[in-house]
């Protein structure tokens, strides 16, 4: 009777040991996969997205479109310049005027990367303005 009880206890400990080993192994595996996936994350496409936004804003500035502060002109030029895979929103804030927002789509996505940046320019009448862009992939 005593020996049988001891055997059950031994089997129980053996099972616990096996279960612990599998759990530890599984945790190591999860941690490994997590860190490898994290190391493989590529920030370069996101950086490129920001640069495309900066290009579009700079070209709008060089063309004089930003300086006009015309919502329609800026919107048309922005759609022409922006590569098809991107959407963009531009907020123009000039001192002494209400901010102007121009968007190529309804609203920015919530759970995806949005690149952003700022550019200072002079509007007509040498009014200092800040163009703040947000850009994201379709």
């Amino acid at each position: 009777m005593m020996e049988k009880k001891f055997r059950y206890k031994k089997a129980f400990l053996f099972s616990i040991d096996a279960l612990s080993a599998v759990t530890v192994l599984f945790l190591f595996f999860i941690a490994g996969v997590f860190y490898v996936a994290k190391a493989n994350e590529d920030p370069l496409p996101e950086l490129h997205t920001i640069r495309v936004g900066a290009d579009v804003t700079a070209l709008l500035d060089y063309q004089g479109t930003l300086a006009s502060l015309s919502q329609e002109n800026i919107s048309i030029s922005m759609r022409t310049l922006l590569p098809v895979q991107y959407e963009m929103a531009l907020k123009l804030d000039c001192s002494g005027k209400d901010p102007l927002t121009i968007e190529t789509s309804e609203e920015a996505p919530i759970n995806r990367f949005i690149g952003s940046g700022r550019r200072v320019f002079l509007a007509q009448g040498l009014v200092p303005c800040i163009a703040e862009y947000q850009i994201w992939l379709h």
């Binding site: 493989n40 590529d42 370069l44 490129h48 640069r51 495309v52 290009d55 060089y62 063309q63």
Partner: protein, 160 residues
Amino acid sequence: MSRKSQITVLDLFISFGMASLLVVFIVLGWNSYTNLLARGQREKFIELQAMQTLDLLIKSPGEPVDWEKNIASSEVFGLAMSDRNISQKKLDALSLSSYNQTSRMLGIDLVDFQLLVRHMNGTELFRYGKALPANKPVITLQRLAGHQNTTATVEIAMWE
């Protein structure tokens, strides 16, 4: 041999078989993962080179600033007259430079490349570099820049 011994031997064989399978699985997995990571690193390296080269070309006038007047004196190629405004004269001068010299001067001699400048309507304005390979992965990046009072896309394709 008693039944208990037979079971023990069978158990040993099974566990040995499973351990061998596990080792084979780990070695194969490790190899394929190493290859995958190495390929990813190479692609990231090329992408970074493409990004930096394109940035340099559209934003910098090069070194010296008027290198297009004497290509032999050039130290760094840049195509910009000013920020994001590329010069036709510099494009013409670049087309006269040898591929190896350009590649070395841009610091991208470990990879091959092709540079393409297009008008926004798709008209090709300038093409330089090697022909795109058919059987290799190619990384292509595109930026916007002004060109002779219009807007152009400057595209670089890079591969190993």
